[in-house]
């Protein structure tokens, strides 16, 4: 599904490259954690997959397409295949939950009967069937992230990218979001989740890609967050894809980076009720 060959990325004004010679292959239907300290290049990698940025060198292939060589006007097609959720949810404050999800279908020209039938289904799937008519500022952070996941998933992308989706959430809510992403994965979607949440990674025991200063320093199946952490007692058997997330509440506090780096998502409240 995704092939990275010797991918490097240097931002025009960057002192050092954000990614250096990263090569990896992610199959269809895989679930991958992307870990590494702040500034190691996780978000940059995800941006390359969305063609929000282009690699300086190397090749990024998503669903068989060389991402750098997609014509500008075909980039939207890539983005319909690759859904994305963020730490800061990015919901439209003046639209209801249902309207936020419907928006993703409306703007790609899906017919009304499809929108009408698919949106309630997806809201049911993320457990927000009852709250379809609420506005984002009437929801908890976890619920807002569910809406964001519903919006990313409603177009049935083949890949879902999640950039620190639990970064703003408490441990219990993080687990709920994790289990939702797991459900999306079990529905057949390739999921790549960049995270700092060690307990989730440790509990899930999925494939882990670790970046350090832009280089890929670990690619481990059924890995833990920390390479140096003690090995598990039982031999490394990755749990079956149907496994639900752990019941243990992670000890690690969530929430690391500030929300909304350079984007229009700073203002808190909706600008006016429009429905």
């Amino acid at each position: 599904m995704i092939v990275l060959s010797s991918v490097s990325k240097r931002y025009p004004n960057g002192a050092r490259p954000a990614l250096i010679d990263v090569s990896a292959e992610i199959g269809a239907g895989e679930f991958v954690f992307l870990v590494g300290p702040s500034g190691s290049g996780k978000s940059t990698l995800l941006r390359l997959l969305l063609r929000e940025e282009r690699a300086t060198s190397g090749q990024v292939i998503v669903a068989g397409r060389d991402v750098a060589r997609i014509a500008d006007r075909r980039v939207p097609q890539l983005r319909r295949i690759v859904g994305c959720v963020f730490q800061d949810f990015r919901l439209l404050p003046n639209r209801t939950v249902a309207a936020n999800v419907a928006f993703a279908l409306d703007v790609v020209g899906r017919p009304r009967h499809v929108v009408r039938s698919v949106v309630p289904e997806v809201l049911e799937l993320v457990g927000l069937g009852e709250k379809a008519d609420r506005y984002p500022d009437e929801l908890s952070g976890g619920e807002q992230q569910r809406v964001a996941i519903a919006r990313a998933f409603v177009g049935r992308p083949r890949v879902l990218l999640a950039d620190e989706p639990t970064g703003n959430l408490d441990p219990t809510t993080s687990i709920e979001i994790m289990s939702l992403l797991d459900a999306v994965h079990r529905a057949g979607t390739t999921v790549i989740m960049a995270t700092h949440n060690a307990s989730l990674v440790d509990a899930m025991r999925r494939r882990v890609l670790e970046l350090g200063d832009g280089a890929l320093i670990r690619d481990e199946a059924g890995g833990r967050y920390d390479q140096t952490a003690p090995q598990p007692l039982q031999p490394s058997t990755s749990p079956p894809p149907s496994a639900s997330p752990p019941g243990v509440v992670p000890a690690q506090p969530a929430g690391t980076a500030p929300a909304g780096e350079h984007s229009p998502w700073a203002a808190p409240a909706r600008s006016g009720p429009v429905g």
Partner: protein, 302 residues
């Protein structure tokens, strides 16, 4: 897999959701949109006024083609032979379409007819005071000056009067106003562009979340741009409608209500008004949409 996800890239938004985007944008941007509408209205009203002035020039031209001739006053001492020689020469002239001889008596009668509204003038002129004349209709009314030059000073010719020359001040007046109207329209067009440019910038700022989400979920560039272009086109359309209203009002109150009583010249009818209204509407919408597209290149990266 991807059954629901497989779709053609170029598919546009349905009218309903698009209208709702447009509506929220217009409401959020009300003051700015209002400013754009005002400038666009002034610009288009000027454009329409220029078009109507040109229509008026054409109306007068058409009237002159029928009515106004070059009149060659004959001296009283002209012999019949001289007169027929002169007439024969005129009939050979390619610039002259027709020659008609009027006796002193006929000239006097025409004079009484033309000035029947002013009995004082008629009373001061006797039947023998006016010269006999040859009235020339021209193949091209604009060539009247050449005719004047050719026939002035010939034997038996007292004077050559170009009735169109009498209208030169009127033509200059109309031309000046036409140029003025078009110039003002051009200046207002520049002002409109500046305002639309700003409107798009503000609108792009107000819509930046929506735009970001649209990009994220794979909306086509056309879809992302559509609300902005439509917003501007709506302002252009409203401006065009207002300007068309101004043109109709000018026709009813100014042209028909005022000028018709003050001038003996024919005034343009309704056809030029409707034509100008259509031009103004189409130009307003199209130009506003094009200006918005240009501004979008600057303010919206897609």
């Amino acid at each position: 897999m991807g059954g629901a996800g497989a779709q053609r890239p170029g598919r546009l938004m349905r009218p309903g959701p698009l209208a709702s985007l447009l509506w929220t944008g217009l409401r959020r941007n009300l003051a700015m949109t209002g400013a754009v509408i005002v400038t666009v209205t002034i610009c288009l009203a000027m454009l329409g006024a220029g078009l109507l002035l040109r229509a008026q020039v054409h109306t007068i031209d058409g009237f002159l083609l029928d009515q106004i001739e070059v009149v060659v006053d004959l001296s009283d001492g002209i012999t019949p032979a001289e007169r027929s020689a002169l007439e024969a020469e005129m009939r050979r002239d390619p610039l002259i379409a027709g020659v008609r001889y009027e006796t002193k008596k006929q000239v006097y009668e025409r004079f009484r007819r033309d000035f029947r509204g002013s009995p004082d003038v008629v009373a001061g002129v006797g039947p023998e005071d006016l010269p006999a004349a040859l009235r020339l209709t021209l193949a091209d009314p604009r060539a009247s000056r050449d005719i004047v030059v050719t026939y002035t000073g010939l034997d038996g010719v007292e004077a050559v009067r170009d009735q169109r020359a009498l209208l030169d001040p009127l033509y200059r007046f109309l031309d000046a106003f036409t140029v003025g109207a078009f110039t003002l329209a051009a200046v207002q067009a520049l002002a409109s562009f500046a305002l639309i440019y700003t409107m798009i910038r503000i609108s792009a700022h107000g819509r930046r979340r929506e735009t970001a989400i649209m990009k994220l979920v794979g909306a086509s560039n056309g879809t992302i741009r559509a609300p902005f272009v439509l917003e501007s086109a709506v302002a252009g359309l409203v401006g065009g409608l207002l300007a068309a209203g101004v043109l109709v009002a000018a026709k009813v109150f100014l042209v028909d209500g005022q000028f018709a009583r003050q001038t003996m010249f024919p005034l343009f009818g309704w056809a030029p008004v409707w034509e100008s209204a259509v031009v103004v509407l189409a130009a307003g919408m199209l130009a506003a949409a094009v200006m918005a597209s240009i501004a979008l290149r600057r303010h919206l990266r897609v």
